[in-house]
């Protein structure tokens, strides 16, 4: 079973990388980009076959390692 984790910065946390990307897009002539927030996608290949179990275990992984919940949100998608 595969899982995909999206890790994003919480609202209100400054994202200097996102700001630099937004600036660069503007310089390339892409207009109307109001804001850019950069995050991470982590794909996991799991031995678990039960969807609920897999989701619970990936959530634990997020809390313990994959996300820093001081500044990041995460969402788990079981594929």
């Amino acid at each position: 079973m595969k899982a995909r984790v999206h890790v994003t910065l919480k609202n209100g946390v400054l994202d200097p990388q996102g700001a630099a990307v937004a600036h660069s897009l503007g310089a390339l002539g892409f207009e109307g980009v109001n804001d850019v927030r950069q995050g991470k996608v982590i794909e996991l290949d799991l031995a678990e076959t039960d969807k609920a179990q897999a989701e619970a275990s990936v959530k634990q992984m997020c809390e313990k390692l994959l996300a820093n919940t001081v500044i990041e949100n995460y969402s788990v998608e079981i594929l």
Binding site: V13, L14, P16, Q17, A20, K64, L65, N68, V70, I71
Partner: protein, 225 residues
């Protein structure tokens, strides 16, 4: 005084830290190098240093993987029992990731890796690490980091300032850190994390000695305790 320096794959300030500690600990025989995969610390330890570098290649987040290394359970337990722990640069990032210090070190506001001397203002003498300095004194210590932009939620920031837990501030922030914070202390003032490198200013022949008192302060606290 017995000290330990924890080594992770990618640590690169571990030897400098060990030399600075040995100079105040009565020689290298009193400083142990401890590998991150060890589960136990040497017996009779007084202080633990977490060195700078690029542990685990800064993968995932700086310090995140090192903070989950086997030895870190023992380090957290040591700190929770009142032991002295300090982390410099990547060591600071590891201490925030391990939960021993609040907040987080984000990418520098200018997005660039910064390697230069900076001026730090000593903000408190109420910790062993800062006891040999005077409040308001300005010292010169180098920084060398890409992710030193200290950030914390408003409540945490208020607590750090209100409880005299800001150890050092930049006179001019190089990295965008909130409130110009360069180094902070735990609630019991026995755990310190800072981005600048006092261990690189601990030898007159290697650039200066403004960092020497950082290590002497640790030795003072242990002798008097």
């Amino acid at each position: 005084m017995r000290a330990a320096v924890i080594q992770f794959p990618g640590s690169n300030c571990d030897r400098d830290m060990a030399v600075a500690l040995a100079n105040v600990a009565g020689g290298a025989k009193n400083v142990s190098m401890v590998w991150h995969k060890d589960a136990e610390l040497p017996k009779g330890l007084d202080v633990i240093g977490i060195p700078g570098g690029f542990s685990f290649g800064d993968y995932l987040r700086c310090g995140a993987i090192a903070a989950r290394s086997p030895i870190m359970d023992a380090v957290v337990e040591f700190a929770n029992k009142g032991g002295y722990v300090f982390g410099l640069c990547n060591g600071f990032q590891i201490l925030t990731e391990s939960g021993l210090l609040p907040g987080v070190l984000m990418r520098n506001a200018g997005l660039k890796y910064i390697c230069k001397d900076v001026e730090l203002r000593v903000e408190t003498t109420a910790s062993p690490f800062t006891s040999r300095y005077t409040v308001g004194e300005v010292v010169t210590v180098p920084v060398a980091h890409h992710d030193g932009n200290y950030s914390a939620d408003p409540d945490t920031l208020k607590r750090l300032v209100g409880d005299d837990r800001v150890a050092f501030r930049y006179t001019e922030t190089p990295n965008g850190s909130m409130d110009d914070i360069a180094g902070i202390l735990s609630a019991n003032k026995r755990v310190l994390g800072m981005m600048p490198h006092p261990e690189r200013r601990a030898d007159a022949q290697l650039g200066g000695t403004d960092g020497v008192r950082f290590f002497e302060g640790i030795a003072d606290a242990l002798v008097s305790a």
